[in-house]
Symmetry: C2
Subunit: 162 residues, 2 copies
């Protein structure tokens, strides 16, 4: 991983849900919009910064899937793998924003090509772990508008940087 | 404001929505759960850290309400005051969490009494600004479970620390 002087290489925001639906293809001409959806599980909003590389990913995935961020039906905090719950991964470049005056700048965000590659690898690694727990990974399409519907019993919003 | 050695005194996560509903009183005995709801606007998830004081709030409110974080119907980025949109403020102590092993710790979070006072002041300051723009502030009850339903046309999730 490139030395980023203590600045994070990736930022994630995590929310718990009891139902979520995400558009993966907008309506176009005669074709209707397409969605993925899940019931109980965790939403990961993710953004990579300049300098992020592949060797970051295994630790990120292991951390996010094993941290006790989810509430079980008995009220105990467990990981999404322990729940077990599904995973919805939402690419979210806005998470890399910094305020400048009244506007937001995204100069530290990774370039589109590298970001797409890291995002695809991140999704693939998550799929491997989550499917081993008998659950599924759903995810948004990189670089597109993330039309999201979320229903929670308490989002338990967390921030994790890597 | 107390010197916190560069660590933030408050953390906020911001999401845009076209509709949101938040429980403000759980069902109890024969009484049904109570909710607040809004249409187009911005959700502010907020957490205060130890050392946060009142003098932080005016700048926080001014920044959050005037930053161009919302998409207007013409696709231009504008502030929630310019939109104009409603505001939903959600207390979210989990945002102050730090991973330790597989668990989360919240040792840096402000104490409950101070947190409640700052939260109430933050809400009041937002109400003043937002009502001047002809819109409304809805907010969750501090220290309770935030049962949230969110419908977005793209959440445009941002992180802002103060």
């Amino acid at each position: 991983m490139a030395d980023r002087g203590g600045a994070p290489a990736a930022r994630t925001v995590l929310q718990q849900c009891i139902r979520a639906r995400l558009q993966v293809k907008p309506a176009e001409g005669q074709s209707e919009a397409e969605y993925v959806q899940m019931d109980r599980g965790m939403v990961i909003y993710i953004c990579f910064f300049k300098g992020a590389t592949d060797d970051l990913l295994p630790k990120m995935v292991s951390t996010l899937l094993n941290l006790r961020l989810c509430e079980s039906s008995s009220g105990k905090m467990v990981s999404v793998l322990e729940l077990p719950g599904d995973l919805l991964i939402v690419p979210q470049a806005t998470l890399g924003g910094k305020a400048k005056g009244r506007g937001m700048q995204y100069h530290n965000n990774i370039g589109k090509e590298d970001g797409l590659r890291l995002y695809a690898s991140f999704v693939a690694l998550c799929e491997k772990e989550v499917s081993a727990a008998g659950r599924e990974v759903k995810h948004g399409t990189y670089g597109n508008r993330q039309v999201l519907m979320l229903d929670t019993n308490g989002p338990y919003t967390h921030l994790m940087e890597f």
